[in-house]
């Protein structure tokens, strides 16, 4: 009844092939998820349009120049943190990670695939957001390499925190928590509301949060052509290091 030749021919594929296939899978999952696209593209674009076009007080002018750095940082957070935490949390719940652990795909390869997929999605986001920004009259300054540096360090930082959450909490808790943190950081990360609106004490505290530091760093470059302030680099680096340490300690591959 079957013509299947099941003679053993065991062995692992070359690593690049496994990595390529897993990266394609990660990308497919990220782009297929509708709720995810809402966070990664729809909300950032809506924020740009809303705050540029609607007469909302408190947004410094030119509004698009003020908004773009925060929206770019938000886009990175949505993919590297929120999307990755929720996706990975449910992979853990569905036993996907556990099953993959019985295949030749190594853990470093799995994490690399996730990272590459996150960066590819971010490139797409940044391209679209920059195009929308340009259409709204955005006038960026500064060294592009510096901008890329902040975006990459931010990605590493949010990935570590996202994986920490996904690997240590239940999938439902991760879903709720990652979305809540997205909203909270959106409100207090200097994206649409300048941190200067807060009292000095609160402002210094908010600048110590990852999104606040990213927004502050990007704004220094893109709006003023300055260097990224050292304290923003340090803030992001500390969060990244702490996040990675904690994730490697508390991450559990199965539920």
């Amino acid at each position: 009844m079957t013509t299947l030749d099941v003679t053993p021919g065991p062995g692992a594929a070359p690593r690049y092939r496994a990595l390529g296939a897993q990266t394609r899978m990660e990308l497919r999952l990220a782009l297929r998820n509708g709720e995810q696209l809402l966070l990664t593209l729809v909300i950032p674009i809506a924020l740009l349009l809303l705050f540029v076009k609607a007469p909302i007080a408190g947004v410094p002018k030119p509004r698009i120049d003020f908004l773009m750095p925060g929206v770019l940082a938000l886009a990175v957070m949505s993919t590297a943190f929120t999307g990755q935490a929720i996706g990975t949390g449910f992979e853990r719940r569905y036993g996907v990670l556990r099953r993959l652990a019985t295949t030749p795909l190594s853990r470093p390869a799995l994490l690399s695939a996730k990272t590459i997929a996150v960066i590819l999605v971010e490139i797409l986001q940044v391209a679209i957001l920059c195009a929308v920004g340009a259409a709204l009259g955005w006038n960026p300054h500064g060294d592009p390499a510096m901008v890329v540096g902040v975006l990459l360090l931010g990605t590493a930082c949010f990935s570590a925190l996202g994986l920490l959450m996904a690997g240590s909490l239940r999938a439902e808790a991760t879903l709720a928590g990652a979305n809540l943190l997205y909203l909270v950081q959106l409100a207090i990360g200097g994206v649409a509301v300048p941190l200067t609106e807060f009292s000095d004490g609160v402002r210094h505290l908010l600048e110590l949060l990852p999104l606040g530091a990213m927004t502050d760093g990007l704004r220094a470059v893109l709006n003023h052509g300055d260097n990224v302030p050292a304290h923003d680099w340090v803030t992001l680096a500390v969060w990244t290091g702490a996040g990675m340490l904690a994730a490697s300690h508390w991450f559990r591959w199965d539920d």
Binding site: M1, T2, T3, L4, D5, V6, T7, P8, G9, P10, G11, A12, A13, R17, A18, G20, A21, Q22, R24, M25, R28, L29, R32, N33, F90, E91, R93, Y94, G95, V96, R98, R99, L100, A101, T102, T103, P104, L105, S106, D254, D255
Partner: protein
């Protein structure tokens, strides 16, 4: 050297849960069935063998390798089908299509099976573009089996491979397992389906409360001379005292389950004649009359403790 060698394996979760002493071997070109009730320790044993869990003590060797220490060397040679389980943790992304899952797994192994051949054999061609979450339970099970076999493994761990399958799909699965055996694969499957174990397995290892309580071929387990008897089925509640007096000296009759009768301890032509004659007298038809040993089910029931829960 057997493909899978497990000796004195211990893994405790709590004083009452886990495995406390499991030893067995699963050779090449053979189907070894781990048989036990829910919670007996079957899955834990398999998980240790495929490197997902560490044992507290004892040793598991697969193809001569330690599943946790030599995992990287080993994983290209294993095919693992996890239990579908109550939590739905069958290990496949819910939003992924059948062919996409197979393409991913095919890319992880050196000489994978052709995806179309697997789809044909397991009757999944119709649903190749369907996402996992829209598959029926049986289709999910078959895809899960396909993912376990796509890498042409030398050792296959199948945790309840035919759970939830309809009769046809179960036959297909059994056929495939037999082909794996003919091709030289060592197959370790867990099941609580006694019919599956008796038709499919070359070796049966019965686990109860974390210990191996019996092991051998289904024939060995059921042939045990001390368990020979004459068995028949008839309406429940026959007046067996009458039969006892009709039986030759030393023999007696028992109703082991309602409607299931066993006459023993020995069987000879006199016993058969007395039983059939007595049944005729009673006007009762003795169905399924047999003088073979116990069924695997009876062996299993006698060896495994009743549910204490």
């Amino acid at each position: 050297m057997a493909a899978v060698e497990v000796s004195s394996l211990v893994r405790r979760y709590s004083p009452d849960a886990g495995i406390s002493d499991v030893s067995f071997e699963a050779p090449d070109s053979a189907v070894t069935a781990l048989l036990g009730r829910n919670g007996a320790g079957k899955t834990t044993t398999v998980e240790i063998c495929c490197g997902l869990r560490r044992a507290d003590s004892g040793e598991a060797r697969v193809l001569g390798l330690d599943p946790t220490r030599d995992g990287r060397k080993l994983r290209g040679r294993l095919g693992v089908m996890p239990q579908a389980g109550g939590s739905g943790a069958s290990g496949v992304y819910p939003s992924v299509r059948v062919e996409e899952a197979l393409q991913l797994y095919a890319a992880l192994y050196r000489q994978p099976l052709a995806i179309d051949d697997l789809l044909d054999t397991l009757d999944l061609q119709r649903v190749r573009r369907t996402t996992w979450r829209r598959l029926s339970g049986g289709e999910q099970q078959r895809l899960s089996l396909a993912l376990a076999l796509i890498g042409r493994p030398a050792v296959a761990f199948l945790d309840e491979p035919s759970a939830g399958l309809d009769v046809h799909a179960r036959q297909t699965t059994w056929e495939l397992v037999r082909e794996l055996r003919s091709a030289g694969v060592a197959i370790l499957l867990t099941t609580h389906d006694l019919a599956e174990a008796s038709v499919l397995a070359d070796h049966v290892v019965i686990i109860d409360s974390g210990r191996v309580v019996a092991a051998g071929s289904p024939a060995d387990l059921t042939r045990d001379a001390s368990t020979r008897g004459l068995r028949f089925e008839a309406p429940p509640g026959l007046p067996l005292a009458g039969l006892d007096t009709a039986l030759p000296e030393g023999a007696n009759a028992q109703e082991v389950r309602p409607g299931h009768y066993v006459v023993g301890p020995r069987v000879d032509p006199d016993v058969v004649a007395s039983v059939t004659a007595w049944c005729a007298q009673q006007g009762v038809m003795a169905d399924n009359l047999t003088t073979s040993g116990r069924s695997l089910e009876e062996v299993f029931l006698s060896l495994t403790a009743p549910d204490s829960a």
